[in-house]
């Protein structure tokens, strides 16, 4: 008779991991970065830009990674929950890429530092229940279109967004109900109240793809995702600011889960490891 170790749980796991998910998103964001660089080179060659415009997203990404990585590392050391560098990097890289791609090229360097610091602090403090990207953009009142792109490039940019969206849906990596309901509600409301939504066209596809369906700050339930999309859309019309709309929707959802789902009044008492 031979003795064996005993283990609880299941003995077969799918190949879908958070690492794989994050790096898939990183790859897609990298394509956007390439597109951005290509546009900058094109504009530079046509004397509409300069060398700085080519490299600015790269500079922003480096600054962002340094700030995010170090603050997260300090936090994990403080709570004595040491994580590997690859874990931290995988956890932060997409936030860094999104922030860098969203920032306009003429922003002052101190603002970049502030945005990243606020963002990572919010990520840690709210356990990701509030989307860490939107708050610094609201505080510093940055609501500019993503890039100044012309018609031809806009079609490429939009195609890339649509293809990425389809790919993420097929991979089941995105809560697609949120952006779809958001977009439908926005268009319907735009028609009903005769609102010009062309202002949003530049920044909207990127936000619909990478910020609005943020996993941690949105509901896991399908019905709630639809409500979230509709609610965020209405707030967007009311405030005329997508970031504020997302933040309000995040806060409402957070209050909902604290009161109805987990039935606690204190976010910091939640035993959900971070």
């Amino acid at each position: 008779m031979k003795k064996f170790n005993i283990r609880k749980g299941i003995f077969l796991k799918s190949k879908d991991t958070i690492y794989k998910r994050n790096y898939t998103l990183t790859f897609i964001l990298f394509l956007f970065l390439l597109l951005r660089t290509f546009i900058s080179i094109y504009l530079s060659l046509n004397n509409k830009g300069n060398l700085y415009t080519i490299f600015y997203p790269l500079i922003y990404i480096i600054i962002s990674i340094i700030i995010f990585y170090n603050i997260e590392n300090i936090y994990y050391n403080l709570i004595k929950n040491k994580k590997t560098s690859s874990y931290i990097f995988n956890n932060i890289i997409n936030y860094c890429l999104i922030i860098s791609l969203l920032l306009p090229e003429d922003i002052l360097i101190y603002k970049i530092l502030i945005i990243n610091i606020i963002s990572v602090i919010i990520k840690i403090l709210t356990k990701n229940y509030l989307n860490p990207i939107v708050i610094p953009f609201i505080i510093l009142n940055i609501n500019t279109p993503i890039w100044n792109i012309t018609n031809t490039f806009y079609i490429i940019y939009l195609s890339l967004c649509i293809l990425s969206f389809i790919y993420l849906i097929l991979k089941k990596y995105i809560k697609y109900k949120i952006p779809i309901t958001y977009l439908i509600t926005l268009i319907l409301l735009g028609i009903i109240i005769n609102l010009d939504i062309t202002n949003y066209l530049n920044i909207l596809p990127f936000i619909l793809l990478f910020i609005l369906p943020h996993n941690e700050s949105t509901s896991v339930k399908h019905n709630m995702q639809i409500i979230y999309g509709i609610f965020a859309s209405i707030i967007t019309i009311l405030t005329n600011n997508i970031f504020i709309a997302i933040l309000i929707a995040n806060i409402v959802y957070l209050i909902y889960i604290l009161i109805f789902e987990i039935k606690t009044t204190n976010l910091f008492n939640l035993k959900i490891e971070y």
């Binding site: 031979k2 064996f4 609880k8 796991k13 339930k221």
Partner: protein, 370 residues
């Protein structure tokens, strides 16, 4: 995959589980194959071999518990009581159902049966159907046809791509016009869900049989006791074997399993149990045994992707249950009672959280309260 079935049908000893501690057994008493040697509530336990009683020993069962077994020494003669061979019993609908329940071929009593369903679906952890079908297709179809004649109800064989691609059934099925083959893409999770999703019926109104149960019924119709052997899959890390094994055999006598950092899992990889030793007696319920490396993915924080809810066949929110368990909050029992512990939430979770374990904990808490 190795298509050959290894036969292990002549064990030196077989072991019969005992449920009644007061029952006494005469040492060296001769036992016929198919003789009832133990009774548990509503079903009989038959001797898989003919031979002599050698005493009582303790061994492991599939629930990881050490229980008492009656040890029978095999005389390798496979002697059957004469009256069982001579007296062929003719069954009607009711007596047939009662007999298969009493013989423990099925573990539920169907009521007002509307259809007969033969489950030949293959899945991530159930894949021996094709090989058994290849080996015994005509015999299996003949038995299904016999059951169909007895019950006189619509009969369906459920298959998915893998079975269909092998074209095994096509060869013989034309001779049996009463048996219909139904192709489905539904992944096999649970009998209830299968019957409900495909036929819109309750499992209780359906006689749902798998391939080993058909073989067992074939024996029952011939000798008035169920088959005492079955084909099980034994997967040792990358090697896969199909073993035709005598029920009551001791696993340690069949296989020499290396212990080095291995886990011995009985049942499916999603719902099975890891056993403490190889001192396991093979019983009717075992379909597969896995020897796998004791490696497991590290749990990461939940990313709230909602995949566990999407894959749950009953629409339960496993992550919500987990959060409530962690925060010591009240969980609605109607919600967790639905859970059949199929393991799909744990399997699909990208953060590798053992969600089923939290649901089990929640259930335990509920039972404690009751």
């Amino acid at each position: 995959m190795n298509n050959n079935v290894i036969k292990y049908l002549k064990p030196k000893y077989v072991y019969i589980p005992l449920f009644n501690s007061k029952e006494k057994y005469q040492i060296n008493k001769y036992i016929y194959k198919g003789q009832v040697v133990a009774v548990k509530k509503e079903y009989n336990i038959y001797s898989p071999v003919s031979g002599y009683i050698k005493g009582i020993e303790k061994h492991l069962n599939t629930d990881n518990k050490i229980i008492r077994y009656l040890k029978i020494e095999n005389d390798y003669k496979e002697k059957i009581e004469k009256y069982k061979v001579l007296n062929n019993i003719y069954y009607n609908k009711e007596s047939f159902i009662n007999t298969i329940v009493k013989s423990k071929i099925i573990d539920y009593k169907p009521v007002d049966i509307k259809i007969l369903v033969i489950n030949l679906l293959t899945n991530i952890d159930i894949n021996n159907n094709i090989i058994i079908l290849k080996e015994k297709c005509s015999k299996i179809l003949e038995t299904i046809d016999n059951i169909n004649t007895m019950l006189n109800i619509p009969t369906y064989i459920l298959i998915n791509d893998k079975v269909n691609n092998t074209n095994i059934l096509n060869k013989y099925i034309k001779s049996y016009p009463n048996i219909k083959v139904k192709m489905t893409n539904i992944k096999y999770i649970n009998d209830d869900i299968l019957v409900n999703n495909i036929f819109n019926l309750n499992k209780k109104n359906t006689l749902l049989l798998n391939i080993n149960q058909i073989i067992s019924i074939d024996n029952l119709l011939k000798y008035n006791f169920p088959s005492m052997e079955k084909i099980i899959t034994i997967k040792d890390n990358n090697k896969e074997l199909l073993v035709n094994i005598k029920i009551g055999s001791l696993l340690s006598e069949v296989l020499d399993i290396k212990t080095n950092n291995n886990l011995l899992v009985v049942g499916s990889l999603l719902r099975g149990k890891s056993l403490q030793s190889d001192d396991l007696v093979i019983d009717q319920n075992i379909e597969s045994i896995y020897i796998i490396k004791n490696k497991y993915a590290k749990e990461n924080p939940c990313i709230r992707c909602g995949k566990c809810i999407s894959v749950c066949p009953y629409g339960i929110s496993p992550i919500e249950v987990r959060n409530k368990v962690l925060n010591n909050k009240k969980i609605s029992s109607s919600n967790i009672d639905k859970c059949i512990e199929c393991g799909l939430c744990s399997y699909h979770c990208p953060s590798k959280i053992e969600l089923v374990e939290y649901i089990k904990k929640a259930k335990e808490k509920e039972y404690e309260k009751v």
